[in-house]
């Protein structure tokens, strides 16, 4: 046995962060980023690691820890970057004190997401360094590097991974563990108080740092050139995990040089040098064509560039070794044709899940109205869109059920019903509920409370045991905060209450509450194991 551990990409990032001496990790669960924080919670009791209410609170808490001089990691899925964006972009203006690394896990092909936005654009937008590992080992090694870079440049560093790296396991060798930083709050108020006068100076300083960022990319140990001396007809610029897909096709045997990019901003010098040695370049990147667009502007419109924009690689979806192979002229092998007797097998709500009873009841009552609309949200209960329920009319972003129901009700839709999970409600639903209450909108909100963040595997939910108090505190009338137990035997009571609250002209909240069947079974198994 060697000292090599088999780790998921997420676990490698977590171990890298622990060994880099972080004092806190701040995160809201989101596939494919969840396992980073879970690993730190399980393996590093010295690191502050309680789940946050949403990505914005996480980003701000991490910035506060950095302000105090300590190293902090903040993790989220790509769409979480939208929630954290205000704090994220402005953290580049304040700069950092202790090292601050923002980890965004993107989901090309939308395995568990509603879009495939590429977080590298956020890094470019905020004008900070971006790291993009190609392997689990690199993900580990990059953490210590990222924190040092962050402290050297006095800027946050964005690390971007994709599902295939986050959720793939490989051997990782760990290095020595660093000490945590001592408490050392920043005294430079002009850096942190972003009044326009200060902000302009800070922004000017960020702009002035850009050449330094590019120099760091040019000399980065993670950017590497595998070139030949002679001029090649074709070269590959391979970003992050796309490097693996390029290498899988044996480019050296084909006489194809490869420039690996794992640190941004794009090193323009390296690109120009590489382009001089190649007649054409294939840009392989997993996500949106960020590098391709930049190469186009660096090399000019006349340079023969291939990639997602030119159709040499698919415009959307996860990259694969086959797609890269095809772009290099290698035919996809087909030893066996696709089978005939295969049907799609979509996921479904678990048997015994309380969300099922909620949708059964809602469908019964909604059928009594000609124009009922049910606005859904993000979580397991989004599966209520699929058969046999086909219950929801929308699912857009965290919290949108309540606010879209409000807008639709304001426009005249009746009944306008929102279905939102407990964790999603505290993440982004509470503020929208306050809008509806203040505007006396005619909506019925179902907070389907299963006492956990179930979709991502059962993490603690920020509002557990507090929902009635939150709704009352925001101003829902006490007689219109109703709690039910979603079980088939209670169907008559639940449908009656839904009817009553639909007929009430104002904001009402119904809380169907029953523990997630998965977390319940896990607890029972654990209990049985302890008894044995």
């Amino acid at each position: 046995m060697t000292d090599i551990r088999l780790l998921l990409g997420d676990e490698a990032i977590a171990l890298g962060a622990i060994d880099a001496g972080i004092s806190g990790v701040y995160a809201y669960p989101g596939t494919p980023s969840t396992e980073i924080t879970e690993f730190i919670q399980a393996n590093a009791p010295e690191v502050r690691s309680r789940w946050c209410t949403n990505e914005k609170t996480a980003m701000e808490a991490a910035l506060g820890m950095s302000y105090a001089g300590k190293r902090a990691l903040v993790c989220m899925k790509h769409v979480g970057m939208n929630v954290a964006a205000d704090a994220f972009v402005n953290s580049a203006i304040t700069g950092v004190n202790g090292g601050l690394v923002v980890l965004a896990a993107d989901d090309p092909s939308m395995h568990s997401s509603q879009n495939e936005q590429d977080s590298r654009f956020y890094g470019k937008f905020a004008m900070i360094p971006i790291l993009e590992p190609s392997s689990q080992q690199e993900a580990y090694d990059m953490m210590a590097y990222a924190f040092s870079l962050s402290e050297a440049l006095k800027l946050p560093v964005l690390m971007r991974v994709v599902t295939r790296l986050a959720h793939s396991r490989a051997g990782v060798k760990a290095a020595a563990k660093a000490q945590q930083n001592a408490l050392n709050p920043d005294n430079e108020r002009t850096h942190w108080v972003l009044l326009p006068g200060n902000a302009r100076r800070q922004y000017a300083s960020l702009v002035a740092k850009q050449p330094q960022l590019e120099e760091s990319s040019v000399s980065s140990p993670f950017n590497a050139l595998k070139a030949s001396e002679n001029k090649a007809p074709l070269g590959i610029v391979a970003c992050g995990i796309a490097y693996n897909y390029a290498m899988e096709n044996n480019p050296s045997q084909l006489g194809i040089p490869v420039l690996k990019i794992s640190q941004y901003p794009i090193p323009q010098v390296s690109i120009r040098e590489f382009a001089e040695k190649c007649d054409s370049i294939l840009v392989a990147e997993d996500g949106q064509p960020l590098a391709e667009e930049q190469l186009k502007s660096i090399l000019g419109a006349n340079y023969n560039l291939k990639g997602r924009l030119t159709g040499d690689l698919p415009r959307m979806g996860e990259l694969t070794p086959d797609y890269v192979g095809e772009a290099l002229g290698i035919k996809v092998k087909q030893a066996h044709a696709a089978a005939q007797n295969v049907m799609p097998r979509p996921p479904a709500l678990c048997q015994g899940c309380g969300h099922r009873d909620v949708y059964d009841a809602l469908n019964k009552v909604a059928a009594e109205y000609a124009d009922a609309r049910i606005f859904g949200d993000i979580g397991c209960y989004t599966l209520g869109a699929l058969p046999p329920f086909r219950a929801i009319d929308s699912c857009v972003d965290m919290g949108a059920s309540i606010t879209m129901a409000k807008g639709a009700a304001d426009a005249g839709v009746f009944p306008a019903i929102a279905v939102i999970g407990d964790s999603t409600f505290t993440h982004s639903g509470m503020t929208g509920l306050l809008d509806a209450i203040n505007d006396k909108s005619n909506i019925t909100v179902m907070i389907s409370d299963n006492l956990t963040t179930a979709m991502t595997g059962g993490q603690d939910s920020a509002g557990t045991n507090k929902f009635e108090a939150i709704c009352l505190g925001l101003g829902v009338e006490p007689e219109h905060v109703r709690v039910v137990v979603p079980l088939p035997k209670n169907m008559e009571e639940i449908t009656r209450i839904i009817r009553e609250e639909i007929e009430y002209n104002g904001v009402s909240v119904i809380i169907p509450r029953r523990e997630c069947i998965q977390t319940l079974n896990r607890k029972l198994r654990k209990k049985r194991a302890q008894e044995q």
Partner: protein, 191 residues
């Protein structure tokens, strides 16, 4: 030497346990490994698959190219068929023959098995029945691992037995023995 394996099944059938055992064996034998797992929404009773790559050389891609998988190990017959485009010409399919029907339009049993059996290299058994007959109903996935053991080649059956003992050690001697029995039942069933 390399072995590219696709593990397939339905969420909750235990394919990741098979992956964990093979992974443990590979790590102990100093064989390189990459294993892409499925998490998140796909686990709720939907189809799940894992690309497991073993090699004595450097492995780059986490994903297997089409037509290059040496082995498909599946807990469910239709799920085995789903990944046939990834199977190499001489690749093996080792699968449970017991359908898991949680969709209304599941294919006809006979047509499904005929198509499976038309593949050149296939081993299929009702692994749940084998597990029940041996009084180890919860170990069907390890029966399947036993059936596939010979085709792993890069790792020996003895190395897999040691890994089963290590992976289940925390659950007690009884669980270890049941899973070793399941492994041998699978191994012997396809001799």
């Amino acid at each position: 030497m390399k072995k590219d394996i696709i593990l397939a099944g339905v969420g909750g059938q235990g394919i990741l346990t098979i992956a964990t055992i093979i992974g443990d064996a590979a790590a102990n034998a100093d064989i390189s490994l990459k294993q892409a797992e499925v998490h998140g929404m796909s686990q709720r009773g939907g189809d799940v698959q894992s690309n497991l790559r073993l090699s004595t050389e450097t492995i780059y891609s986490d994903l297997i190219k089409q037509g290059e998988a040496d082995l498909i190990i599946s807990m469910e017959p239709m799920e085995a068929l789903r990944y046939v485009p990834f199977l190499s010409e001489q690749g093996w399919v080792v699968t449970s023959s017991h359908p898991f029907k949680n969709i209304p339009n599941y294919p006809d049993d006979e047509a499904l098995m005929n198509e499976l059996n038309s593949l050149p290299n296939i081993k299929s058994l009702p692994i749940e029945d084998v597990a029940k007959d041996n009084n180890i109903p919860k170990c069907a996935n390890i029966v399947l691992l036993g059936m596939a053991a010979k085709h792993l080649e890069i790792i020996s059956s003895e190395q897999l037995r040691e890994s089963i003992a290590r992976v289940f050690a925390a659950k007690g001697e009884n669980v270890v023995n049941m899973n070793l029995m399941a492994f041998d039942a699978g191994l012997n069933a396809v001799k």
